[in-house]
């Protein structure tokens, strides 16, 4: 009798994951869901990357060699949609799932069943989106910005595009609600808001951005849908509508979206730099305020994507000034990272290398962003390869490098083993060399006058295009090393709870690998470990 009770008790206390496919289909565990998000995002990264390589192959030399222009446009459109909504955003949600409960000392996400649902919507959404490649008329080819009237020329894929965007939005909104509720309610009592780690802070602010703008995108694409099928004329001039209005609505979503993809990256870097500098983050509170300022400003700069649509001078001036202002809090973040490193005792493991490259290369993307804010120059840069260079600098060695840094940083915590450090470093160096080889020449192409989204170009652009294509192939192949690192992730030495020499924070107080359930009770730990920010320590 007593044994049976003990057994039941045991089973209740230490129940692990279900077995087989049921574990993944029905799981409500934040670590399982985090893993699924990350794996999904990696798959999408490779699919979107393959499309990028189709684009770069066609653009390697002048003339059309491999694809027709209509398919080329499908590739640029699908590459962007998949990378933005399928790779970068889910990767950060995956990291949030894994790390936020562990960083705030909470047992799980606040809304575990919704968590499961918000993940499982994604494979459906992208299944639908990818299936459009096989439909009459092909996949959407109007660019990820879906500007009317061109987008209304999409073939059978059109309603599927709209529906899949709705689903992605639904997933993001649920994910955002979950993250907000978790951060507000699930913190261990001693962790006040201002004490929260930067990754948690940046995600809290990001989640509010998502909540604010994903419904706006849903509204915009719904209006496209009714324009196409139900006789409305929101965006059709012939019926009294305004094609430019779509752009205003889209970029009211689109600009905060840019920060949705970079703020969590700031959070990741703000975790990694202190660890490997063995020094607390400089200006933690200033970083929080800077992040909040960027988020606020992100709502009042959208028209800088549209300086060539023909706006009143006063509007152009306002959006130029507001856009330039973003450089201030962004600068504060970069300066604080440098101050964090200053007089530290740095070591250069793979996560640190990726974080350092992030600071260098994201800053280059920030510089071209500042140049783009200057309206007369922007009129030249707009829709040229200069813009392509700019946003790839902030997204690839920006967001993607931060995601890589985060994966290497927390991988030993997830698997309980150190990954192959040599392979990690090779992955880093090849990625860094090739990413610059790919995207740096695009600045020159844009300044020389090459428009974006063209399948073929004048011969004067041939040289740098070939360089960029060689870089892209190299970058793509280098990512296979990352797969190797993941496949061999459990073969390395057993990781300690702290994993890294200078790691501070609650996630490093639990064993490696992190048990299936962590922080079932309010956590009691040495405050100096838990709250590196705490000024009383």
């Amino acid at each position: 009798m007593t044994t049976a009770v003990a057994d039941a008790h045991e089973a209740h206390d230490h129940h692990g994951p279900a077995t087989g496919i049921r574990r993944w289909l029905f799981t409500t565990n934040h670590k399982d869901i985090g893993t699924m998000y990350l794996v999904f995002s990696l798959i999408m990264f490779f699919i979107g990357g393959a499309m990028a390589l189709v684009i770069r192959s066609e653009l390697a030399i002048p003339g059309l060699q491999f694809v027709h222009p209509e398919f080329f446009n499908q590739m640029t459109t699908m590459h962007a949609l998949i990378m933005v909504f399928g790779a970068v955003m889910p990767a950060f949600v995956g990291l949030a799932n894994w790390m936020i409960p562990m960083q705030i000392g909470g047992p799980d996400m606040a809304l575990p069943r919704m968590n499961n649902w918000s993940f499982w919507i994604l494979p459906v959404a992208f299944g639908i989106l990818l299936s459009t490649l096989f439909m009459p008329g092909g996949a959407p080819a109007s660019g990820w910005t879906m500007y009317p009237p061109l987008v209304l020329q999409t073939g059978d894929a059109f309603p599927f595009l709209i529906f899949s965007v709705h689903l992605m939005g639904l997933s993001s909104i649920m994910g955002a609600i979950n993250i907000i509720v978790t951060i507000i309610n699930m913190r261990t009592p001693e962790m006040t808001l201002i004490r929260m780690p930067m990754f948690v802070w940046t995600w809290l602010i990001t989640a509010y951005l998502l909540l604010a703008v994903m419904p706006v995108l849903a509204g915009a694409v719904t209006m496209l849908l009714t324009d196409q099928f139900f006789g409305t004329s929101f965006f059709l001039a012939a019926g009294g509508g305004d094609p430019v209005m779509f752009q205003h609505i889209f970029w009211f979503f689109g600009h905060p979206e840019v920060y949705i993809m970079i703020l969590p990256a700031f959070g990741v870097v703000s975790e990694i730099i202190p660890t490997f500098s063995r020094k607390p983050l400089f200006g933690h509170d200033a970083m929080v305020y800077a992040t909040a300022s960027i988020a606020f400003l992100s709502f009042i700069v959208w028209s800088h994507h549209m300086f060539t649509v023909g706006m009143p001078l006063s509007a152009q001036l306002f959006f130029m000034f507001a856009t330039m202002l973003i450089a201030v809090p962004t600068g504060v973040k970069v300066f604080n990272w440098v101050a964090t490193m200053w007089r530290g005792a740095m070591s250069f493991e793979t996560p640190m290398l990726f974080a350092l490259a992030f600071i260098f290369l994201f800053t280059i993307g920030g510089f071209s962003g500042l140049m783009l804010a200057i309206v007369p120059s922007d009129i030249q840069y707009h829709d040229s390869y200069f813009v392509v260079a700019h946003f790839h600098y902030v997204l690839v060695p920006g967001s993607i490098f931060a995601i890589m840094a985060a994966a290497y940083y927390w991988l030993p915590k997830w698997t309980g083993h150190y990954y192959d450090e040599t392979a990690g470093k090779v992955h880093f160096w090849l990625s860094t060399i090739f990413v610059n080889l790919t995207f740096f020449p695009m600045h020159f192409l844009g300044l020389a006058g090459m428009p974006r989204r063209i399948p073929d170009y004048s011969t004067q652009f041939a040289d740098f295009n070939l360089v960029a294509s060689i870089g892209a192939m190299g970058f793509g192949l280098s990512q296979l090393i990352f797969v190797y690192v993941l496949l061999t992730a459990k073969k390395g030495a057993q990781a300690t709870a702290g994993v890294w020499d200078g790691s501070k924070g609650l996630e490093w107080t639990v064993p490696s690998p992190a048990p299936y359930h962590t922080f079932d009770e309010p956590v009691h730990v040495d405050r100096s470990v838990a709250f590196p920010k705490d000024p009383n320590v």
């Binding site: 390697a60 030399i61 002048p62 003339g63 059309l64 027709h68 222009p69 446009n73 109007s142 500007y147 009237p149 012939a238 094609p243 983050l281 400089f282 200006g283 200033a286 060539t308 023909g310 001078l313 130029m320 000034f321 330039m324 202002l325 450089a327 201030v328 504060v332 300066f335 440098v338 101050a339 490193m341 200053w342 007089r343 530290g344 005792a345 070591s347 350092l356 800053t363 280059i364 510089f367 500042l370 140049m371 200057i374 309206v375 007369p376 120059s377 030249q380 707009h382 829709d383 020159f444 300044l447 020389a448 006058g449 428009p451 063209i454 073929d456 011969t459 004067q460 040289d463 070939l466």
Partner: protein
């Protein structure tokens, strides 16, 4: 194709600064405003370079000196309100200094009053239509034949053998040098954008709307650009070519094409 690749690789191997194809920077252009735009671009570039040198310099010094392998002990300082205020305030001042000249140029860009010549440009999938408002002269301008043939998939024609590949048209826009040309821009179907880098003007052609911009080319020559707003499958194949000619030659051209010549142009540079 093999030949193309080898041509490209050869070009890569023999790259020199003298090779004009490796163009690095924005053209200075041939209008007053294109020169101003170029100056603004270079100003922003040098400001960014200076800030970059400071920030990256500090980072590199730190990366070289403050390494664990050098046996240094990490300092533990963590905030300084004074420093935060300083590096918030200084960038604001730099930005103000950049914004003022930019605003000055923007005001000029918007001032299209008193044009000498007005041209209505209409975007079509995938060609341009030009109408000279007062000369009663109109025509379409599409990709030139040699480019059209070479651009077909696996056409067997090496683009390097085609003069101005993809940047040549059957009938270019012709304007007199020194004239203030007002461009009224619209579209017949989807969005397009009319761009000539040497004039530093680009604006969207939007169905149902008329956009306005202007240029005053100060140098005779042929200037080439392209549609800059994705407009469907042949977006890459609707170039813009503008021939800037002497006023006298323009008058002759209008007459030769059956346009109204009540107004003749004189060089008013």
């Amino acid at each position: 194709m093999i030949r193309n690749i080898s041509t490209g690789l050869l070009g890569l191997a023999w790259a020199t600064a003298a090779n004009a194809d490796w163009q690095l920077n924005m053209p200075r252009g041939v209008t007053e405003l294109s020169a101003e735009t170029y100056e603004l671009h270079m100003m922003a570039f040098w400001v960014c370079t200076a800030i970059g040198l400071l920030v990256f310099g500090a980072m590199i010094i730190s990366l070289l000196l403050h390494r664990k392998s050098k046996g240094v002990a990490a300092a533990q300082f963590r905030h300084s309100t004074g420093v935060e205020i300083l590096w918030t305030a200084i960038p604001v001042l730099i930005l103000l200094a950049m914004a003022v000249p930019a605003a000055r140029t923007m005001i000029k860009l918007e001032d299209s009053r008193n044009p000498d010549l007005t041209i209505v440009v209409t975007g079509y999938q995938w060609k341009w239509h030009y109408r000279y408002q007062d000369q009663d002269l109109a025509f379409y301008s599409s990709l030139a034949r040699p480019s059209l043939e070479a651009r077909q998939k696996n056409s067997g024609i090496d683009p390097f053998d085609v003069e101005n590949y993809l940047r040549d048209v059957d009938r270019p826009l012709v304007v007199p040098v020194g004239a203030k040309v007002r461009v009224l821009l619209t579209s017949n179907d989807v969005l397009h954008a009319w761009w000539v880098p040497d004039f530093a003007i680009k604006k969207d052609a939007i169905p149902g709307m008329v956009n306005e911009m202007w240029f005053q080319a100060l140098k005779v020559g042929t200037y080439r650009g392209q549609c800059a707003e994705l407009c469907g499958k042949d977006h890459g194949y609707m170039p813009v070519v503008v021939e800037v000619v002497e006023a006298e030659a323009f008058n002759e051209w209008v007459a030769a094409n059956g346009g109204v010549t009540t107004r003749t142009f004189a060089d008013n540079r």
